[in-house]
Subunit: 207 residues, 2 copies
């Protein structure tokens, strides 16, 4: 099997701009990428590809394969899948709470396709056993898109239910989850930078 991580550093995570500057956001996405790669390696996934645009610098010391594409996310991943015969795990770079245990469970499912839903209809991880019988369609309700594509292609589906993996880091309140439940370089960065305030409702980031 292989893992592929779509990655964009330049001007990444604009919805975090109320709490992090451009420079900080670009540093932080790299830390999240490092945490994702670390968990993949600890789960014994040796073939790791990063799919990025020509202008996006992936740190040299990560020891991963770099594929660059000028296409949009869907086209870039579908071009990639077309060339693959072995199972492919597509994992987003903004999932720093992923653990080796999650990855082992996902990659050992019996079904043809494992979908890990994100909040609001997103797809955070796909494990595609038969890349010639699937294509991706991110954006909008990609969870439903991917369920429908799998059904059309007669691929069986397992929906993997995880709070930590449903939490892609897009908005300031997502950083609270890293502080409470995360690990690694991204957690270290967030806990050094922020404090939280607690009241009667949900915990909030102190800005």
């Amino acid at each position: 099997m292989r893992a592929v991580i779509p990655y964009k550093k330049q001007n990444a995570k604009s919805r975090l701009s109320p709490v992090l500057s451009l420079e900080e956001r670009e540093h932080f996405v790299e830390l999240m990428l490092r945490d994702v790669v670390k968990s993949l390696k600890e789960a014994d996934i040796k073939n790791i590809d990063i799919l990025t645009t020509p202008s996006n610098g992936v740190p040299q010391d990560l020891e991963v394969n770099i594929h660059s594409s000028e296409h949009d996310l869907n086209e870039a991943i579908n071009d990639y899948l077309e060339k693959m015969q072995d199972p492919v795990l597509v994992i987003m770079a903004d999932l720093p709470m992923v653990s080796p245990k999650h990855l082992k469970e996902i990659s050992s499912a019996d079904e043809d396709l494992v979908i890990v839903p994100g909040k609001g209809g997103g797809t955070n991880i796909l494990f595609i056993k038969n890349p010639d019988k699937f294509h991706v369609k991110y954006y909008g309700s990609s969870f439903l898109n991917h369920c429908n594509i799998a059904k059309e292609m007669q691929q069986s589906i397992h929906v993997y239910d995880s709070f930590l993996l449903s939490t892609d880091i897009d908005e300031p309140h997502d950083l609270v989850e890293i502080m409470l439940h995360g690990h690694g370089a991204s957690r270290e960065y967030v806990t050094e930078k922020f404090d939280v305030k607690t009241g009667k409702a949900r915990v909030k980031l102190c800005i």
Copy 2:
């Protein structure tokens, strides 16, 4: 083991008021309660207690035990726990996406305490094997409170990671998750009442 569900119908879920009237919210919390009770029964949990205030009507046909208390949530649950010797599952009434499989997994954990975190530091389910060695402290960062209390009482902890159980239904965007991932009476109600709009970002409720 027993399950206990804190329940408040009167003026419930005020944060849903942009999309549901008072009457609709009071009806909807009852539907969510019904879904939770149904999953508990299907998981073979026979002793179900609902902890409510004297003025809150619990439907007669639910076949559950009703305990009423005038105290606040923490005091009411702690009074309840004090009287119990057997393991207690404390489950919130606004978790209509709970399934019998979740409940079986939670109640078969080896640890003394299972915590199911909610978004923003909340605690959505607690499974307390030794109710004489634990007390609850909801509100604020209750997840951290409950971890700390367990440590003080030398109780081992398992954190149960579930997206569906992290999603307590408080705000309009939470209703989208019921439409996409829910089941039962609450899903039927939400899908009849609302539509969703999809764009490039997260799926949103049409109001």
